[in-house]
């Protein structure tokens, strides 16, 4: 039993992966940790999935690629994790693909725990605990967001809705550049930032977890102009 915080006591782990062999393997790791594995045979809708999860005693392990088999899920794991996180369900994303791609990075604010399958046995419980604490408002040093200055050095229109910015977050690292992709439909100010940096680098603000150890752990939200 994983005690996270009152009134939650995780006893079961829901297993999400489009391969039943992998789900079964997750199940062994969960049993070894003294918890009860629950197989999720398919995801018809996020609403239905959330409805089937007991927020009191369930945590979730979710794989990233869920669309390899057409009947399992209509969306990939990073979107499932985001939805479950927002619903207050402790969840971690399990993937072999490191460094994470731009799709995962764009949801990093709502993916506190990103583990490889090799790390699952030793880090599963602490990861779910961290997620639950964060959902209560208690962030680790690496995940706590701070309003900070960002130097935008360049912008590139990736598609009609996506702009990729090359930024430096001096509060995190004085010179290491980081790529951030923003959807204009979700972050309308991205268009203004792009226009501003067309005449040279510009400075903006956002909430960033500047305690992160690596660039792939950074997330950005609440962008604003200086």
């Amino acid at each position: 039993m994983l005690a996270t915080s009152y009134p939650r006591e995780i006893r079961r782990i829901q297993l999400i992966d489009d391969d039943p062999e992998v789900r079964s393997s997750y199940g062994m790791i969960v049993e070894d940790a003294g918890l009860i594995p629950v197989d999720v045979p398919s995801i018809k809708s996020i609403k239905e999935l959330i409805g089937s999860i007991d927020t009191y005693c369930d945590g979730v392990i979710c794989d990233y690629q869920l669309k390899s088999r057409s009947t399992y899920s209509q969306i990939d794991g990073h979107e499932v994790v985001e939805s479950l996180y927002k619903a207050g369900i402790p969840v971690l994303l399990c993937t072999r693909y490191f460094p994470p791609n731009s799709a995962i990075l764009s949801k990093r604010r709502h993916i506190p725990a990103l583990l490889s399958s090799g790390d699952l046995a030793t880090k599963m419980l602490p990861a779910l605990q961290m997620c639950a604490e964060e959902q209560r408002g208690s962030f680790t040093l690496e995940r706590k967001p701070w309003k900070t200055l960002i130097r935008v050095e360049g912008a590139e229109q990736v598609s009609s809705d996506v702009i990729r910015f090359h930024v430096v977050v001096p509060g995190w690292h004085p010179s290491q550049g980081v790529d951030v992709e923003l959807k204009i439909s979700e972050v309308p100010i991205a268009k203004t930032i792009r226009e501003l940096c067309q005449s040279g680098e510009c400075r903006v603000r956002a909430h960033v977890n500047i305690g992160a150890n690596q660039a792939e752990d950074l997330y950005f939200e609440n962008w604003s102009l200086t």
Binding site: E21, S25, Q65, R96, Y97, Q157, Q176, D179, K191
Partner: protein
């Protein structure tokens, strides 16, 4: 109780005037627009002594003019205007100015402004007013300064308005005058064939130069003319015409817009001319010289916008690429125009359900949904033209490849014919020389074909590996890892200690093998990651560390080690991570192969960096056998390899990539560790 009213500080004049001012050219342009709105057929601007401050500007038009009431209730009331886009003038013009503020910036260019006006149908009276702005500076409120409108008998002047700005606060540079000339001439769409009936004359030397360029229209010399339109119901269509005006391609609304939604923007037409500025093509078929067209395009290239016949600033100004033509060209340079070789015009009839609104500071349209839809219409049209041109380019290439096979035979026949005309005693030696040349050329062509095929094969292997990495690298390996982990734990918990090693040892071997197997997939995916191919700032040391981590299982698996000795700095370049990684990965692979070939016992690779001013020197040295069985200068040649199954491309790729990054590379046969040592010098932007 005291009755009062809101009053304005004189500073409001600066706020609304100077602070909304886009520049001297835009300020004066507002006065020209006022003349247009007054149905003038001619507007003349005279500049006197404007190279320094203290000069003057006179603007005269032959429009409808104003009487005292018109001056008092119209011209002197700022922020209000009778003009509305819905009500056209007597000459049928849609008013260009309607915010009542535009002229203020111009009027405040000088310390004093004088206005005189004669109204049509009442030319016996001349009305005038003089404003000394310094009086406002000393007043508490704007209302405290009284102005006097004089009316006197007029015998000399025709209808119209004269505005004089005297004692200018700043000089007008030649550049400002050129911008004014350009803006004035472009104001009422001189690109079209229809005449607006409105002429602007700027009495300044710069004007005639610009006017000459405007008058010289080169539209007939364009290679492609895109003609697109969207009607009042939001349905669009487009054609591509050649320089003769013949239709090359046409498309319907559904082809322009993938989601088939109507465009929610005002009815508009989009004309766009593309010039292929390749000298040979031009001289063979066109009248104009390439240099003249380049000069014309450098002044007027870009896409301009006209709303109801009047140009909207700043669309199409030099440096304004609002449709991102240059960005699209960078991303896909083939068959895409840039602002240097194209010119366009979008004409908007600003009516209907989705009108556009200009910003008060005249910096363009408010970027609302209607504006976005208009932009989407223009970009969709350009994208369609680009796709069509790409398709034609591909057809041309296929035809060329087909003809390339036939060309040598034809040339050989031509040669045989020419040979027969040569003196008989020379024919044999000429034939022998030709045959020798032909054989050499055939060998070269053969080698190139093999190289191309090899590149295609390697690319296909990469594509297949990346596509199926999930199947080979994701799930099966994940299942093995998870089950091995679980087994280790269960064995430790349930099996007596003295029996555990029998079970744990084979598991350790499985784990090690799985790790090596997993590396192939992750390394492949990492190397082909599209983000790595993007050009931007690249930290060299980060790349080196990344490749080291990525390839660790490979070189450890071959009992080799890599030592990193990196300079205490963070050198960075402008390039792609993929480029730097390909250099390092190929050099490391080269060393590992050398170790295997030579059965080297002590297998060490060393990667070191040193910063020398604006150069980062990267050295990759190994303890292998050095360069043997091939000349050092030949190692860079494609296809040269000492391995039976080798591609011979690795070092060619390294050399070409270093060159693309602006650097140089050379090889030391006996390096620091006794084997080969490659020295790369890359110019850096910083460290």
């Amino acid at each position: 109780m005291e009755k009062t009213h809101i009053r304005f500080s004189p500073r409001i004049l600066a706020r609304l005037g100077e602070e909304l001012n886009q520049g001297a050219d835009q300020s004066i342009l507002e006065l020209i627009k006022n003349a247009f709105d007054a149905d003038a057929t001619k507007c003349t601007i005279e500049l006197s002594d404007t190279a320094a401050s203290g000069g003057s500007i006179r603007v005269h038009d032959n429009g409808r003019g104003m009487d005292a009431a018109g001056i008092r209730d119209g011209w002197l009331v700022l922020g209000s205007s009778e003009k509305t886009p819905l009500k056209k003038t007597k000459l049928g013009r849609t008013p260009a100015g309607n915010k009542g503020l535009g002229r203020l910036a111009a009027l405040r260019m000088g310390k004093v402004v004088s206005l005189a006006s004669v109204k049509e149908n009442n030319s016996r009276r001349l009305h005038s007013v003089r404003i000394d702005w310094e009086l406002f500076d000393g007043a508490n409120t704007v209302e405290d300064v009284k102005l006097e409108i004089k009316s006197e008998k007029n015998t000399k002047r025709q209808k119209g308005t004269w505005i004089e700005l005297t004692d200018l606060k700043s000089a007008l540079r030649s550049e400002d005058v050129k911008k004014l000339a350009r803006a004035a001439l472009l104001l009422t769409d001189p690109f079209g064939d229809k005449k607006s009936g409105f002429t602007v004359v700027l009495k300044a030397p710069e004007f005639s130069d610009v006017e000459k360029l405007v008058r010289q229209k080169y539209f007939d010399d364009a290679d492609y003319h895109l003609q697109a339109s969207v009607n009042s119901r939001g349905i669009a269509q487009a054609n591509i015409l050649d320089w003769k005006g013949e239709v090359l391609a046409a498309c319907s609304h559904d082809e322009l817009r993938a989601d088939k939604q109507r465009f929610k923007c005002p009815p508009s037409t989009f004309d766009f001319w593309v010039f292929l500025l390749k000298t040979q093509e031009f001289l063979s078929a066109r009248k104009a010289r390439t240099a003249d067209i380049r000069a014309w395009l450098s002044h007027f290239g870009g896409v301009h916008v006209y709303q109801d016949g009047v140009r909207v600033f700043p669309y199409g100004n030099p440096g304004d690429d609002w449709l991102q033509l240059n960005l699209a060209r960078v991303r896909s340079p083939e068959e895409r125009p840039s602002t240097n070789n194209s010119i366009g015009r979008i004409s908007i009839e600003n009516e209907g359900a989705y009108p556009l609104t200009q910003k008060t500071d005249r910096s363009g349209f408010i970027e609302d949904d209607a504006y976005n839809e208009l932009t989407e219409f223009a970009k969709s049209s350009l994208d369609w033209m680009a796709r069509w041109r790409l398709g034609r380019a591909e057809d041309r290439r296929r035809a060329q490849r087909k003809h390339a096979a036939e060309e040598p035979r034809k040339e050989e026949q031509n040669f045989e014919t020419a040979l027969k005309a040569a003196p008989e005693k020379l024919q044999r030696s000429l034939k022998e020389a030709f045959n020798f040349y032909a054989k050499t050329r055939d060998r070269e062509a053969d080698a190139l074909r093999k190289e191309v095929q090899l590149y295609r094969t390697l690319s296909t292997a990469g594509i297949i590996a990346a596509t199926f990495a999930h199947e080979s690298h994701g799930n099966p390996i994940k299942v093995i890892e998870l089950n091995v982990t679980s087994l280790k734990g269960r064995i430790s918990r349930n099996v007596p200690a003295d029996h555990r090693s029998k079970l744990l040892d084979p598991l350790a071997k499985i784990e090690k093998s799985v790790s090596a197997l997993a590396t192939l997939g992750s390394a492949t995916l990492s190397l082909v990651n599209s983000r790595k191919r993007r050009v931007g700032r690249v930290d060299i040391h980060n790349c080196i560390s990344g490749i080291y981590s990525l390839l660790t299982p490979f070189f450890k698996g071959r009992d080799a080690d890599i030592a990193l000795r990196l300079a205490p700095a963070s050198p960075y370049i402008r390039g792609s991570e993929a480029a730097v990684e390909s250099i390092l990965a190929n050099l490391i692979d080269n060393s590992l192969r050398a170790f295997r070939r030579d059965s080297t016992e002590n297998r060490l690779i060393q990667i070191s960096t040193e910063i020398k001013e604006s150069i980062c020197e990267i050295r990759v040295a190994d303890s292998g056998p050095g360069i043997r069985d091939v000349k050092p200068s030949d190692v860079w040649l494609p296809g040269v390899t000492t391995e039976p199954e080798g591609t011979g491309l690795g070092l060619t790729i390294v050399r070409d990539t270093v060159s693309d990054l602006g650097g140089s590379i050379y090889l030391l046969s006996g390096g620091e560790l006794g084997g080969a040592e490659f020295v790369i010098n890359l110019p850096i932007l910083g460290a």
